[in-house]
């Protein structure tokens, strides 16, 4: 973090409205909380650094929302930091972000090292080791097999019945007539039995 608390306390954005910067503040705060950064002191330091950076950019790009700029600054900072900690600076932004967050989750970084998140200079050794050692494997390497159904001889009766059924399925009207015939047959049988 290149800015001291003293310099941050005098931070006054020169562009944008108060509401816009408050919204940006809340957004960064929410995002850090989503990262389970619950240490208020650390959180507010990070927010202020991010907002100072965003404010500088806003002076050059006043049409862009401070919230957007603050989010972009957060992402960029995290990319740089993850890349440095994991030694993956040459990877794409998406890859760094995904791998970094997974590593942070798996080593329980925010809980076990509450001051380490986005710390540029004094990254604890054991934290860096835990980050690089974190690996997630959803499945082992594939060794494909061929599992193909063997044809089954259903026997003469079943085969014949199957053919009849498939024929009936081709003619739904015939099927309905057969069903009605069966129904009438049952009625006739009941009539006969109760005579």
């Amino acid at each position: 973090m290149e800015l001291s608390l003293e310099s941050l306390s005098s931070f006054r954005p020169r562009t944008g409205t108060l509401e816009e910067w408050n919204a940006a503040y809340v957004r960064v705060e929410d995002y850090l909380r989503a990262h389970r950064i619950h240490n208020r002191l650390h959180q507010s330091r990070l927010i202020q650094v991010i907002l100072v950076r965003a404010a500088k950019r806003h002076e050059r790009m006043p049409t862009v929302s401070p919230t957007t700029l603050a989010a972009e600054e957060t992402e960029k900072w995290m990319d740089d930091w993850f890349g440095a900690v994991l030694g993956t600076t040459d990877h794409s932004h998406e890859r760094i972000a995904i791998d970094g967050r997974v590593a942070l989750l798996l080593c329980d970084g925010p809980q076990r090292w509450p001051y380490a998140f986005l710390e540029d200079k004094n990254v604890p050794q054991d934290f860096a080791q835990a980050m690089t050692a974190s690996a997630m494997e959803a499945g082992p390497d594939m060794k494909t097999s061929n599992m193909v159904p063997q044809p089954l001889d259903f026997g003469v009766i079943s085969e014949t019945a199957g053919e009849v059924l498939e024929r009936i399925e081709r003619y739904p009207l015939l099927g309905m007539l057969a069903l009605w015939a069966l129904f009438l047959g049952v009625l006739a049988a009941i009539f006969y039995w109760t005579r």
């Binding site: 809340v26 929410d30 972000a97 995904i98 060794k143 097999s145 044809p151 001889d153 059924l165």
Partner: protein, 719 residues
């Protein structure tokens, strides 16, 4: 289980096995013949022996043979148990004093929109139990998800990650989500086999609610190693963790009566057993080679894809020459039953269609007779219901024809029973009634006597008086439920034949917490009550004597609504437990695994739920909003290159999701987004970048409240 190896399966020669089966089926045949004689005589003596009487007799033969099979199985079980147990058991093939080397085994947990906490806490218990055996290194775990609800899917991913973190399970516990849910559970397992089957010698297939102790898993694999011709070894899972009165009664009857039936089944089936779909170990390579399921002729409901795969897989395994055993004496294997009568009926609806499809396979060339018999019994499990119904209707028809026609039996059957020319001065119908009752209830009575005779066993069921009272109440309850299930199953069979689906009433949210509510019960059971009312009133009007004969059937139907509600209540189930009723050894002396599962789950369920407006789409919320969940989710997705058209579609979809909120998207659209890695990365970044006014109110609320009240996000498994 004895410690030393005393059984060599090769000693069970075909001749010896044939002798056992000859005795068994002769017993079935004898009982059926005796009853048929009495029934034929009764029909003969009440009047003319016409088409109605012939139909009644044919139905009677089929139905009586069916219940005789159950009775004879139990009686052979009694014979076996009285001899101190059958030596010819698969568990007797291993010397348990020796440390048997184990083959590499995959434990498969196929899941489909199940309670995520239950699945993963169950897995935690099994994992821990296996670790305690010191044999964990031989086992890998696979959660094979077919869940198609966004929240369910994301919860599973989160729970998997948390579980692996907590137990150090990365590299041993794996998670795989299928994009296309082809062929349901059997397709899910087949997909695993095609990807990773070669890596494993055995697989143990679980249901989402299965629990097996580490010891039982090690035993299963050891038995496989000791029996190189064994293709499948099935255990007999106990029903556990029931809370409602219905579930507790089912668990009680399962625990009390099943030993007789299991011992009898093993006696005659031996290496030609059946597979029940879970809690079983399977040799992987022969399963890959022989058990891919072919389609049946025609299309659903009768043809097409095989729905109940397990019986067929056992038959295919046997056809290929591999043995299938029932390890009924392996302890520490559990499953959960449905909590209510209506839930049980819903499950039966699925099973009914699957079992009826097996009709095609009864005559399949190459199947072993024992497997044909298993398939037939499966079909009869459901078809017997409409046959019983028809039998009762025809009996009523016969009474109507007698009353209307003023027929007077020419040889009064109420005076005596004629058996092979000898007269026994007991009313013939009553004799038949007693014989039927004997077949239905003697196995239960014998089981109670056997258990009560052993003080320790009786104690594990709550002591002799409570065991006796519980068994009595169970018999009353099952008698009341039988006609309701008969009507349910008759409807299922009819609807399956007609190719129709069965609609179910949706539970009201408030009532779902404690069983069936009145609305659901009335809408589900009113036809049963109406049938009972009409039938009972008609019977009484025709002949009061006939009404008393019909009362056991009519009573259950008339009371179906209050019975269904009463049995579904968890509070009543708890009360019965406090009173010491329907206790099982798994409740009085619970294994450590079940106790731990109970404790872990009660902690899980105590956690705060997401706030109401966010609850329905909480999975999607987490996958988009939470940086960690998003990263885990994207890591688990396969990267794909979408076409230009689909890219445009995804772009439009993402915009809508952020702008309008998830309620404006269909489940299919949400699933499509969740399956697209590019979209998930974009959504996460854009959600946090866009100013509040560009986002739906739903997202703004989500961002403001996320992780505010808890230090961690709400998941199905966090502690």
């Amino acid at each position: 289980m004895t410690a030393t190896c005393v059984f060599d399966p090769s000693k069970m020669t075909p001749r010896r096995l044939m002798r056992r089966r000859f005795m068994f089926f002769t017993a079935v045949f004898s009982f059926t013949s005796l009853a048929t004689w009495v029934m034929a005589d009764l029909l003969w003596r009440v009047g003319s022996f016409g088409a109605l009487e012939v139909s009644l007799l044919v139905l009677f033969v089929v139905l009586f043979a069916h219940i005789s099979v159950g009775f004879c199985t139990a009686m052979f079980g009694l014979y076996v148990i009285n001899r101190g147990g059958d030596r010819c058991r698969i568990t007797q093939t291993v010397d348990w004093n020796k440390d048997t080397p184990l083959g590499r085994t995959a434990i498969l947990v196929p899941v489909f929109n199940e309670d995520v906490s239950r699945v993963f806490e169950g897995l935690r218990v099994i994992y821990g139990s296996l670790k305690d055996t010191g044999k964990l290194e031989h086992f890998d775990f696979f959660i094979l998800s077919d869940s198609n609800r966004p929240t369910q899917w994301i919860q599973e991913e989160v729970a998997w990650t948390e579980l692996c973190k907590q137990v150090g399970g990365f590299g041993r516990i794996f998670y795989r989500k299928r994009r296309q849910q082809i062929n349901k559970k059997s397709g899910n397992v087949a997909d695993f086999l095609r990807r990773w089957g070669k890596d494993y010698r055995y697989m143990v297939v679980f249901d989402a609610d299965s629990i097996m102790t580490g010891r039982s898993l090690v035993q299963l694999v050891a038995m496989m190693e000791a029996n190189p011709h064994a293709g499948i070894i099935q255990t007999a899972p106990r029903l556990a963790r029931g809370e409602s009165l219905y579930a507790r009664i089912q668990a009680f009857s399962n625990r009390l009566y099943s030993p007789l039936f299991l011992a009898g089944t093993n006696y005659w089936q031996q290496h030609e057993g059946n597979y029940w779909g879970h809690n079983a170990v399977i040799r992987v390579q022969p399963f890959i080679d022989h058990c891919a399921l072919p389609d049946l002729p025609g299309s659903e409901p009768f043809g097409g894809r095989i729905l109940s795969h397990d019986f067929v897989e056992a038959a295919l395994m046997r056809k290929a020459g591999w043995t299938v055993w029932l390890a009924h004496d392996v302890e520490g294997t559990y499953e959960e039953g449905p909590p209510t009568l209506i839930d049980s009926a819903k499950r039966d609806r699925r099973w009914c269609q699957g079992n009826m499809q097996h009709t095609w396979l009864l005559l399949a060339r190459g199947f072993r007779p024992a497997n044909r018999f298993h398939l037939l019994m499966g079909v009869m499990g459901y078809v017997s219901s409409p046959l019983w119904l028809l039998f009762l209707i025809l009996s009523t028809g016969m009474v109507i024809s007698q009353v209307v026609g003023h027929d007077i039996p020419f040889d009064r059957p109420e005076d005596y029973t004629s058996l092979f020319g000898y007269r026994v001065y007991v009313p013939e119908a009553f004799f038949l009634f007693l014989l039927t009752l004997l077949l239905l209830f003697l196995p239960k009575i014998v089981s109670v006597i056997l258990t009560m005779a052993d003080k320790a066993s009786a104690q594990s069921f709550g002591g002799r008086p409570r065991l006796f009272l519980s068994a009595l109440l169970e018999i009353v309850t099952s008698s009341l439920l039988a006609p309701i299930n008969m009507l349910f199953n008759s409807k299922f069979v009819l609807f399956t034949v007609l190719g129709q689906g069965v609609g179910w009433v949706t539970q009201q949210r408030q009532a779902a917490a404690d069983g069936t509510d009145w609305r659901e019960a009335i809408l589900t059971h009113w036809p049963h009550m109406a049938v009972g009312l009409v039938w009972g009133a008609s019977a009484f009007a025709l002949s009061p004597m006939f009404f008393w004969w019909m009362l056991p059937v009519v009573l259950g139907l008339l009371l179906s609504i209050p019975i269904s509600i009463f049995l579904s209540k968890g509070g009543i189930g708890l009360k019965s437990r406090e009173m010491g009723l329907f206790l099982t050894p798994d409740e009085t002396q619970p294994p450590a695994e079940l106790t731990l599962l109970e404790k872990n789950l009660s902690e899980c369920y105590q956690h705060m739920q997401p706030i109401e407006p966010l609850r329905a789409d909480y999975g999607l919320l987490q996958a988009v909003l939470d940086p960690y969940v998003n990263a885990v989710h994207v890591s688990l997705l396969r990267q794909r290159r979408p076409s230009e058209e689909s890219r445009e579609w995804f772009t439009e979809l993402r915009g809508r999701l952020l702008r309008d909120g998830p309620a404006q998207l269909s489940q299919k659209e949400k699933m499509a987004l969740l399956l697209d890695a590019e979209s998930m990365i974009w959504l996460h970044e854009e959600l946090w970048r866009q100013p509040g006014e560009a986002l739906a109110e739903w997202w703004r609320l989500a961002m403001r409240q996320y992780n505010v009240l808890t230090t961690h996000p709400v998941t199905a498994l966090y502690r």
